[in-house]
C-alpha cells in the first residue's frame, strides 16, 4: 500500500523495501524522486503530467502555426515550400487536437473529477497511467516523422486516396496513422475508466443530478469518445492496411469510393469537436457561478443540453461533406440536423448569461477568460450556423471562413476555457495563486491577438482565399478594403500578439513557481467538493469521504440561509471544514500501489505500431513485450501485498502496517 498511515498525524510514510518479485524485477512500492512520477498511478500526478505534456505540444503546435502565418504574411512567401507547408498545417492541427486539447482536458478531468465526486482515485488507476504513457508514446511517434522522412502532409482529416501510398509515398502518413491509433487507444481506455468512476465512485448522497457541471460535461465527453473512437480506428486500420499491406480500400481503379474515408473520419470527427469543447464548457460552468457569487442558472438545463449535444453530435457529421457529391437529400437532412444542434448550445449560452445577470461579478483572470469564452464562442457559433445552410456552405467550404469559424470556437472557446481553468484551479493544484497582474497581460494579449488573427479570416474566406494554399500573390489579392494582402498581414501580426499572450502565461507559471506564497485552500470562496481539501490535496484526497446532501455541497457547508433576511450567511470557512474532516479522519486508507507495467506495455504497443512501417521483426518484439507486460499486469495485485513491506523500526509513532492480533 502506498499509504497506510493515520492521516493528520503528520508522520512521514515508512520506508519500505519490497520483498516479493515477479520475474526479475521487484515491483515499485514506495517511490521517491523521478520514480515517483514514472510509476505513479495517482490521478493527481497523472493529471499534472498530462498538463505538462499538453502544454509542451501546445507550444509546438503554436510554433507550427506561427510558421504558417509567417509564410502567409507576405505575397509569394519564401519561408515554407509547398511540401513543408502541407506538413505544417497537417501537424499543427493534428498536434493541437490530439496532443494538446484532448490531453489538457484529460489533465483537468484526471485531477478534478475524482475530487469533485468525493473519491480518492479513479476506478482503474493503472489503466489511467497506461493512458498517459500511451499518449506520450503516440505523440512521440507522430512527431518522430519530422526527423524520419517528413511529417504527414494530407491535412488533419487525411482524406484518402490522397493519403494512400500512391499520392503520399513518404512515411509521414504512416507515422500519423500509428500515432493516432495509439493515442486513440489511450483515450478509449480513459473514457471507460472515467465513466465507471463517475457511475460507481461518487460519494454517498451524490446523485447524478448533484454532480458538478464539470463532472457532467466530462462524463458526456467520455461517452462521445467511447462510441466515436472505434470509427476512426476502423478508418486508420483501413488506411494502414492499404499503405503497408496492399489492401485496395481507397484504390479508385478497383472501384473504391473516396467517400468511404470521409464518412468514417467524420463520424468520429464531428463528435470529436464536442469532445474538444465540452470540457471547456464544464470549466466555465464552475468559474462563472463562483465569480458571479450566484449559483449556476438552470443547472438541469445545462446538464441536459450537454447530454443532447453529445447525442445529436452523432447525427450531423456529413455537414463536413456538403461539397463532396452526397446528393441533395443527404445534404438537406444533415443541414437541418446541424441547425438543430445549435439549440442546446444556445441554451447553455443563455444559462451562463443569466448566471452572471444580477450577480456581484469579481473580475479575476479566470473570470475574464470565462466571459471571453461566452463572447468568442458565440461569434464562432454564429459563423457555424451560417455553415449549416448548405447552399451557403458551398461558397464557404474550404475557404478561410471555415478556418475563422473553428478557430473562434476552438481558440476563443476551448482554449479560453482551459486558461480559465488554469487560473481558477492553480492554487488548488500547486498551492500557489497565479499572479493576477501577469494574468491580465496574458488575457488581454490573447483576446486582442486572437481577434486580430482570426477575425480577418472571415473576410479572407468570403473573398475567396482557399484553405491549405501555401502562397498567395499580389495579382490575385484584390483591392481596397478587401485586399487579401492587408488582412493576411493583420492576421499574421495578430498571431504574434497571441503568442506573446501565451508567453505571458508561461512567465506567470515560472514567476509563481518561484514565489514563496502559500495559497489558502479556498481562495475564491468556491462551491464544489474539490475545494474541501488542502492546497495541494493530500495524497488520499479526503481524510474522510464526505456525505453529500446538496448540489454545490461545499457551498452549502459554508453558508446557511438566514431565515429572517432570506440571504445566505457564511457559517464556516473552508479551513474550518477541512480541519473538521481531519479530526474525523478514517483510520486506515488504502491506495493502489505504483506499477511499471503501464510504461512497459506502452513501449510494447509503440513498437508494435512502428512495426507496420519497419517490418515484422519489430512487430514480433513489440507483441512479445505487450504480451509479457499484460501478464505481468494481470498477475500483479493492484495493491501491493503485505509481504512487500518490511516494517521499519518502531519509533513509537502510530504506524500500523499489519495489526498482529
Amino acid at each position: 500500500m502506498a499509504i497506510i498511515e493515520r492521516p493528520g498525524t503528520g508522520t512521514t510514510p515508512v520506508v519500505v523495501t519490497p520483498q516479493q518479485t515477479f520475474g526479475a524485477v521487484k515491483r515499485p512500492v514506495q517511490t521517491k524522486g523521478w520514480r515517483e512520477w514514472l510509476f505513479t498511478v495517482d490521478h493527481k500526478k497523472i493529471g499534472i503530467m498530462y498538463g505538462v505534456v499538453a502544454m509542451v505540444f501546445f507550444i509546438i503546435g503554436g510554433v507550427e502555426a506561427l510558421l504558417i502565418r509567417l509564410q502567409l504574411a507576405m505575397p509569394d512567401g519564401q519561408i515554407l515550400s509547398a511540401d513543408k507547408y502541407n506538413q505544417m498545417f497537417t501537424m499543427h492541427a493534428t498536434t493541437m487536437v490530439f496532443l494538446f486539447a484532448m490531453p489538457m482536458a484529460a489533465a483537468f478531468a484526471n485531477y478534478f473529477l475524482p475530487l469533485q465526486i468525493g473519491a480518492r482515485d479513479v476506478a482503474f488507476p493503472r489503466i489511467n497511467a497506461l493512458s498517459l504513457w500511451l499518449l506520450i508514446i503516440g505523440g512521440l511517434v507522430l512527431n518522430a516523422s519530422w526527423f524520419l522522412g517528413g511529417a504527414a502532409d494530407g491535412g488533419w482529416f487525411m482524406y484518402a486516396p490522397n493519403s494512400g501510398p500512391i499520392f503520399s509515398p513518404s512515411n509521414g502518413v504512416d507515422f500519423w496513422v500509428i500515432g493516432l491509433q495509439i493515442t486513440g487507444v489511450a483515450s478509449l481506455l480513459g473514457s471507460i475508466n472515467l465513466i465507471v468512476t463517475v457511475l460507481n465512485m461518487r460519494a454517498p448522497g451524490m446523485s447524478l443530478m448533484k454532480m458538478p457541471v464539470f463532472t457532467w460535461m466530462i462524463l458526456v465527453v467520455q461517452f462521445l469518445l467511447v462510441f466515436s473512437l472505434p470509427v476512426i480506428t476502423v478508418a486508420l486500420v483501413l488506411l494502414m492496411l492499404q499503405r503497408s499491406y496492399g489492401a485496395t480500400f481507397f484504390d479508385v481503379s478497383q472501384g473504391a469510393d473516396p467517400l468511404l474515408w470521409q464518412h468514417l473520419f467524420w463520424i468520429f470527427g464531428h463528435p470529436e469537436v464536442y469532445v474538444l469543447i465540452l470540457p471547456a464548457f464544464g470549466i466555465i460552468s464552475e468559474v462563472l457561478p463562483t465569480f458571479a457569487r450566484k449559483p449556476l442558472f438552470g443547472y438541469p438545463f445545462v446538464v441536459f443540453s450537454g447530454a443532447s449535444i453529445g447525442l445529436v453530435g452523432f447525427g450531423v457529421w456529413a455537414h463536413h461533406m456538403f461539397a463532396s457529391g452526397l446528393g441533395p437529400v443527404s445534404v438537406a437532412v444533415f443541414s437541418v440536423a446541424t441547425m438543430a444542434i445549435a439549440i442546446p448550445t444556445g441554451v447553455k449560452i443563455f444559462n451562463w448569461l443569466l448566471t452572471m445577470w444580477g450577480g456581484k461579478i469579481w473580475y479575476t483572470t479566470a473570470m475574464n477568460f470565462a466571459i471571453g469564452l461566452v463572447v468568442l464562442f458565440t461569434i464562432g457559433g454564429l459563423s457555424g450556423v451560417t455553415h449549416s445552410v448548405a447552399p451557403s456552405d458551398t461558397q464557404q467550404t474550404d475557404t478561410y471562413y471555415i478556418v475563422a469559424h473553428f478557430h473562434y470556437v476552438l481558440f476563443g472557446g476551448m482554449v479560453f476555457g482551459l486558461f480559465s481553468g488554469f487560473y481558477y484551479w492553480w492554487p488548488k493544484v500547486f498551492g500557489k495563486m497565479l499572479n493576477e497582474k501577469l494574468g491580465a497581460w496574458n488575457f488581454w494579449f490573447m483576446v486582442i491577438g486572437m481577434n486580430l488573427t482570426f477575425g480577418p479570416m472571415h473576410i479572407l474566406g468570403l473573398q475567396g482565399q482557399p484553405r491549405r494554399m501555401y502562397v498567395w500573390t499580389e495579382a490575385r489579392a484584390g483591392e481596397g478594403f478587401f485586399n487579401l494582402g492587408f488582412w493576411n498581414m493583420v492576421a499574421s501580426v495578430g498571431s504574434f500578439i497571441l503568442a506573446v499572450g501565451v508567453l505571458f502565461f508561461l512567465i506567470n507559471v515560472v514567476v509563481t513557481a518561484r514565489s514563496k506564497q502559500q495559497a489558502p485552500l479556498d481562495p475564491w470562496d468556491a462551491r464544489t467538493l474539490e475545494w474541501l481539501t488542502t492546497s495541494p490535496p493530500k495524497e488520499h484526497n479526503f481524510d474522510r469521504i464526505p456525505v453529500v446532501h446538496h448540489l454545490d455541497e461545499f457551498f452549502h457547508r459554508k453558508y446557511e440561509e438566514d431565515t429572517a433576511t432570506h440571504t445566505m450567511k457564511k457559517v464556516a470557512e473552508g479551513e474550518d471544514l477541512v480541519r473538521a474532516e481531519e479530526e474525523g479522519a478514517d483510520a486506515h486508507i488504502h491506495l493502489p500501489s505504483p506499477s511499471y507495467w503501464p510504461i512497459v506495455l506502452s513501449v510494447g504497443v509503440g513498437l508494435l505500431g512502428l512495426g507496420t512501417i519497419y517490418g515484422v521483426p519489430m512487430i514480433v518484439i513489440g507483441f512479445a513485450i505487450t504480451l509479457f507486460a499484460s501478464y505481468g499486469w494481470i498477475l500483479e495485485p493492484s495493491v501491493a501485498e503485505e509481504i512487500d513491506f518490511e516494517p521499519s523500526d518502531n519509533d513509537g509513532n502510530t504506524k500500523e502496517i499489519a495489526p498482529l492480533g
Binding site: F223, V226, F227, D257, I267, F314, G315, W317, G327
Partner: protein, 103 residues
Amino acid sequence: MSTSTEQQQSDHEHGMSDAGYIKIALILAAITALEVSTYYVDFGPLFMPSLMIMMVVKFVMVVSYFMHLKFDSKIFSFLFYTGLGLALFVYITALATFKFFIS
C-alpha cells in the same frame, strides 16, 4: 444507495439453470439450421426478411440469456444498446448516402 453482492448472486441464480441454457443452445442450433437451409431451399420473397429476423433473434437471445443481460441491471443494457443503436444509426445512414438500399 448500493446493493449487496449477495443480492447480485441471487439474481444470477434466478436467471437460468444449466438445463435452461442447454435449451437456449438447442433453439439457437435449430435457428442456425434453418438459416443454412436458405442456401438449399428457395424461400422466394421471404428470403431476406427471414434471414434478417433469424439473425436478430439469435443476436438478442445470446445477449439476453447467455450474456445474462435480461436479468442484470438496466444500466448494462443502456450501455450496450446505446452503442449498438448508435452503430446501427450511423452506419445505415452512411450506407444510405451511398444509395446502398436502393436496388
